[in-house]
Amino acid sequence: MIPAPFDYVRATSIDDALARLSGSDGAAKLIAGGQSLLPLMKLRLARPGGLIDIGRLSELRGVHRRPDGRVSIGALTTYDSLLRDATILRYGLLSDVLPGIGDVQVRNVGTIGGAIAHADPASDLPATMLALDAEIIVISVRGERCLPISSFFQGPFETALAHDELITEIRLPAGRDDVGSAYHSIAQPASGYAIAGAAVVLGGRTASGWDTCAVGITGVGDQPYRASAVESGVLAGASFGEAAARATDGIRVASDIHADREYRAHLAAVQVRRALEAAAARLG
């Protein structure tokens, strides 16, 4: 399978990429690893008129801790690099999620920024970013913006990114010693994509429950979402099982040949409960 024809240019700098992206008026797409985009182009589900290759912009690669304690991940950092980074692996849910993304070949090339921008409603990373309250730093010829992840995903493969914007960085809050996190999912065996996946950040154990609970869910709705009913249940002292039962409150649950609506909703609740239990267990 061969993609439809397109024009190609390798960006020499971030500014070069932004100028070309802006000049293309939405006809060109950025390509980094291409592990999501190229399969779509080969199936001709995507037919961009041009590709601007940002894969060699090494300034967008790497993980570092900022002076304020938050962790900055360059958008072009590959899954494989993340999987070998001690700072990243301290986040329990990231140590859970990264080994299961794609396969070695995909992880060698695929990038975190690409996964966020692609916004596949069943991919694993977006749910973890939601649970972590990540910030997405984007840039265009018009300047830089910092987008909260909570409003970033807007539909299947749709994000708050404007057509001339490029993700430069994903910023994670500093980890807290009294917070545990975990990711649990059940994947469709052939594709590896989540039928239901749950990312949990849990902490601040109190006499009556918890003071921090964030739950991100993927594979279930038409975009990854925060399960606010589960969160408020946990904060109010409900058992994990009771709280997890509300994993799909207010969500139009997807249905396909792998899992119908009822079964998928059940799986979501199970994954949420397991992730809550695993996050609590990490707190000892």
Binding site: M1, I2, P3, A4, P5, F6, D7, Y8, V9, R10, R20, S24, A27, A28, I31, G34, Q35, L38, P39, M41, K42, L43, R47, G49, G50, L51, I52, D53, G55, S58, R61, G62, V63, H64, G74, T77, T78, D80, S81, R84, D85, P99, G102, D103, V104, Q105, V106, N108, V109, A190
Partner: protein, 201 residues
């Protein structure tokens, strides 16, 4: 094509104005080609360079039989554009052994019955080469994870796992020999230097 847009000058000839010139090292040899941007790395290797040891199976980034090493890392060459490989060092199954008859992985696949029809074998071996460059003595779980992106539909995975384990032992055991010194000047050193280069800053 009317759907194409002009992102700036890249053309290498008037009749194919969108072609891009690529220059890369394949199995230690400098190669060049003028390619359409949509040309896949696997097409460049097979059709332009005649290296048909790299197979096309599913063509949808699932089966892994097109796996090659790009700068030492296993990559599915059906899911990489030839232009993305410009300037890189690519190793295919044809170049894995270097000056020897067979690489220890090839020997082990032969001896341990790691193949039957052989279609998946080039990809299996290249994925295993990535693993062994990073993990000299992998556990069976690590071996299975390393070939998760490679499908075999006939031999079964057990003898493939065994072959990779045997190859790892042979490579570790032979390190003192002259043959292995040549070995680490080949794929191993490419992989190791790339891990440093590609590591997080």
């Amino acid at each position: 094509m009317s759907s194409q847009i002009n992102l700036g000058p890249s053309g290498v000839s008037p009749d194919r104005p969108n072609d891009v010139h690529v220059a890369l090292t394949v199995n230690g040899r400098d190669r060049e080609a003028d390619v359409e941007p949509r040309r896949l790395l696997v097409q460049l290797l097979r059709d332009d360079f005649g290296l048909t040891g790299t197979h096309i199976g599913c063509d949808t980034s699932q089966c892994g039989t097109c796996t090659v090493l790009v700068d030492g890392r296993a990559v599915k060459s059906c899911t990489m554009l030839a232009v993305q490989a410009d300037g890189t060092s690519v190793v295919t199954i044809e170049g894995l052994a270097g000056d020897r008859d067979l690489h220890p992985l090839q020997t082990a696949f032969w001896e341990e019955h790691g193949l039957q029809c052989g279609f998946c074998t080039p990809g299996m071996i290249m994925a295993a080469a990535d693993l062994l460059a990073r993990t000299a003595s992998p556990t069976d779980d690590e071996i299975r994870d390393a070939i998760k992106g490679n499908f075999c539909r006939c031999t079964g995975y057990q003898s493939i796992v065994t072959a990779i384990r045997v190859a790892a032992a042979a490579m570790a055991g032979g390190e003192a020999s002259e043959k292995s010194a040549a070995d680490s000047a080949g794929v191993g050193s490419i992989a190791r230097s790339t891990i440093v280069d590609g590591g997080v800053a």
